[in-house]
Point group: D2
Chain length 348, copies 4
């Protein structure tokens, strides 16, 4: 007996990833697909400009696309809406009693709304209770972080828990898919780098502190880390690469740190959630890895890969490069893993 779910904004790039991942999902059945009114009424195959390198799943080809309205019989919806739309649509769904597992940025920093990476801060899911109490029909919004934040936060979470962290600096080399299908014109990026992504540095800096924060009552007490991000767009289709400097509270050896990262496991692994990678973090020994084209697909794009792990110049400083798939682990896969945790924890 699968759970009927909806995908809001199902024709965009993250929407297509949702559809692709949900088509074979053991728990969820993507019965309701929404898009802008321009597409409403068409079968999905006609409404979508499909660009993944796999066929449109048979089960959704002929599903009629609907307008994004809270009028269909599902308890759970995944939101791939742009934040400008999400900001007013997601509360409508929550008010009508839907659980909204959102990839949009609109409510991530809202107190009382979980900003979740199931391996990192599963207990933040508790915030959902106060939401559910406050809505008419028991709906709620849960969010996953920005793509570049998830990759960073997963890489530092085991270090933060074991050693404490005083300071993080991160420079990113981000794939064009992070900007949506039409987000980066080819004229802007062939033979080029763009050293700016609107709002991205702030998202990385702010979201990371919330994710690593502690629940106090029905609020999150943010982590106290000095964090600074510089974000760049590069001519890569999928996969964000990040150069990281971390200053640990308590120093350790590279071997131990490597072990801590490799052995990192969380709730999704314990609960054997369907989308959970067996091993969330892979540490690569090759001196020129991770690389987006080679490593982004690891464990169906749900693991992150770390390489070039070494000591920095000052005491407790560590440097490494981390890579993750921005539209899988960093977006659609993240939302689905969130929903799986929510189901398994009995919130549905």
């Amino acid at each position: 007996m699968k759970i009927d779910v909806g995908v809001l904004g199902a024709t965009g790039m993250v929407g297509q990833r949702f559809v692709s991942l949900l088509a074979d999902h053991p728990w969820f059945e993507p019965r309701f697909l929404t898009a802008s009114s321009r597409s409403a009424g068409k079968p999905y195959v006609d409404a979508v400009n499909w660009f993944l390198d796999e066929e449109i799943p048979e089960s959704v080809r002929e599903v009629d696309v609907r307008e994004t309205k809270a009028d269909f019989p599902a308890d759970l919806v995944f939101s791939a809406l742009p934040s400008s739309v999400a900001s007013h649509v997601e509360p409508e769904f929550a008010n009508e009693g839907y659980i909204v597992a959102s990839n949009a940025s609109s409510y991530r920093m809202e107190s009382g709304i979980p900003l979740l990476i199931p391996e990192v801060n599963p207990n933040h899911l508790d915030l959902i209770n106060s939401q559910k109490r406050s809505k008419k029909h028991g709906g709620a919004i849960i969010t996953n972080p920005n793509c570049s934040t998830i990759i960073l936060a997963m890489s530092i979470a085991p270090l933060y828990k074991r050693y404490g962290i005083k300071e993080i600096k991160v420079a990113t080399l981000q794939a064009v898919s992070g900007a949506g299908y039409s987000g980066v014109p080819s004229m802007a990026i062939i033979d080029n780098v763009i050293p700016y992504i609107s709002g991205e540095e702030e998202k990385m800096e702010n979201e990371t502190l919330k994710i690593l924060g502690q629940i106090v009552g029905s609020e999150v007490d943010q982590a106290e880390i000095e964090i600074s991000a510089q974000c760049n767009r590069v001519p890569v289709i999928d996969g964000h690469t990040e150069n990281v400097w971390v200053k640990l509270e308590n120093n350790s050896t590279i071997n131990e740190i490597k072990e801590v990262m490799e052995n990192f496991r969380g709730e999704p692994q314990k609960l054997e959630l369907p989308s959970a990678p067996k091993k969330p973090i892979h540490v690569l020994d090759e001196r020129d890895r991770p690389q987006p084209r080679i490593d982004r697909g690891r464990n169906k794009g749900m693991s992150i890969s770390i390489g070039r792990l070494k000591k920095g110049k000052s005491d407790g400083e560590l440097t490494f490069t981390v890579l993750g798939h921005n539209t899988l682990r960093g977006a659609a896969g993240a939302s689905i893993l969130n929903a799986e945790l929510l189901v398994e924890k009995g919130y549905m």
Copy 2:
């Protein structure tokens, strides 16, 4: 009356840049072009696999390529040799009395050999005297830094002089031309990033400290800055982009810092050397600049461009992005500017 000069390794990528820049040079006449024995004896047009987007200069098309031996009547040679060859060939030329303006890495860190950026440490040229005394015929080697180092060092030099610097972190996004024509296979870099460049991080860290150091006797007393680099290759033809964090000894305002950078001038500007850009540093206000494809050619590729200048999280911390043309300001143009300073200072 031009000075006859030679170009060692004239058929490679940096070699072609030397040839292109020297063909129109007001002081230098590239009369002697050397390459490996395979090419020796052929006219340059037949020996070279020309790839610049301009024609081979008429004046060198028919110049016969020679083997790389110190047997031709010129006082000055530019070396675009690979370091494995440069390490034994350059001393041979110096011993025979040639001044060698080298782009190779072999002798950059040698005490007694100037590692020069004419705007930054022109007084390091004095080291040449002890060299000239020690060689039979008064020859000497002068070097320019690694491409990514020059760009970084130019950007921080005015800050170092004015405010002092305690700490530098830099993440680079480097063009493929930095690895030589065949250095990066297309299979390795299309839709990809490589988070490793052999020896590059060490070069950036070590060379920067020598450049910013003080001459004490006939040695350089290196600067004391905690510096850490992470280097990446990206699918860009020319132009290295660098994200920089700097911790100043003495804090200031962004406006003043911007002014300090924009007003930075050095010996090449005072002496009006032929290859000197009027303004070595351009600070761009657009939020998404500098970008390699748009900004690398500024002032014939001899200026660097800085953007995204802003305060960091902690006191005295500054972040910015700097871009420069790696085979012009970062290689051939750098050597030529070094030689111009040397001529103007009366060392020839």
Copy 3:
């Protein structure tokens, strides 16, 4: 005494090329720049998202952008308007007495409107007379062909004139700039080819026959050639590459054909028009040329380059590859050369 001219659609990609080329033009002064109402009223520097790898010309930085209305004192305007806008705006300007040198496709195939390549069919300019008579104030529209058509037509014109042509097949590899700044998303073209460009094959097939046609009265009697085009978009910024098969009416030798191409000259060369390349066609002997990145800039992007010239399998068949700069020779430069011919021929 320069002629005041306007540029319609001055902020787009072809518009920027117009502005860049006209800023230094010896005859024309770009005093009036128009754009959509959104940009109207702003200085050009603020209205434009400049992307050329040169600075915005000083002379136009502060020019106030106007709405695209026929209300300013200039006799000549260059149109870089999208065809949907050009179709109603260009006749308005012509009716008000302006000469419109247009790069838009709207009126290219209209009988009575010259579709001009000054080297190829300068006599088609005569069509302008009937237009000027029919308009209230003596205005007229002249057009240049589609970018891929110009490059093809220039390459075959000398062959057509000398030998006659029965059949042409052409496969194109076209740059992304041909689609406008946002025309091709990076997600669509990195590590990819798109074997379709809307309307392009029909334009190449139809426009070529008009260009090579004969003026009969005030109409063009189209050339009779069997022509078939297949068009592809490739990850190249500027420069269209075209593989051509031509069947000549009268056979010849490769040497003679090469000479015919290299010696091809037209009115622009005889009249020494400012934008005319000395040599419109360069035939390259290197076996792997022409290449867009290396050869597109030849003669300021106004010459085309031909390579791989060889006999085909059947009698009279010839194959070659031709390359030209699509936004210079294929767009803005083409319109300007048209206007120069028009001025020199006394039509203003």
Copy 4:
């Protein structure tokens, strides 16, 4: 009971594809991996510079790489050797009694050696008998065509059989992987097209005629088709795109032709060979397909995709675009399918 096989040249790009495909093969066990003497003696994981976006198969990681000598106990070897090496090594193996399924070009056009596409000319396998008789130990060489030839030949085979073909023109847009890992420097192809691939046009023209030829005695009587190819390299990792013009002997309708292509089946499909795609040719209706990044992986890269199918200008003329995966269907997968046919037909 699997058949032990060897892979000659197992560390190169096609070699890695062989290893990846054979690791899971139901019939073949890749027990012997050879490479140059430089790699011999190392475990495969250390000898190879693995670049596929999947892990090195566990079963071969620790296999010791051997020199390429005919001294190991296997009856069948796959050759991914460069042709300069293959030309002397492959006959040595055949003389020692091995069956050599080769991807090298050295012996493709040799009379008496099958040049095989199992769906197209399975009966050419008979040529092997005369070879086996002539060798001491019953060995033989069978070859698959050049990558761009396979894709073309598969697309035209059903048309040739049904309608006859008088003439073919083809322009290719070929991926960089076709040149081997280091074959195309990134400096040569970023923002560029190279309109030349050494020997490629001749291979396409000659090999196609042999493949479509008839066996007469122990020779192949080549097909009589006027065929002309123009070949280009483009910045694509995998997947060759080809624009094709075909002149049919007997005309038909597009609908019928489409049906003929879609229904095309051959021996591999009848015999249900492990590597056979269920449907060798997919005809796509979308106007902008096939595209390499989206369509190359169809049926594990073993099907070709055809699009833009339409009538040409003259009677019987047909134009279309065909795409196939050059290192799967066009190389390693092709050799393996050949070997599967050979096993199933009882030649081992």
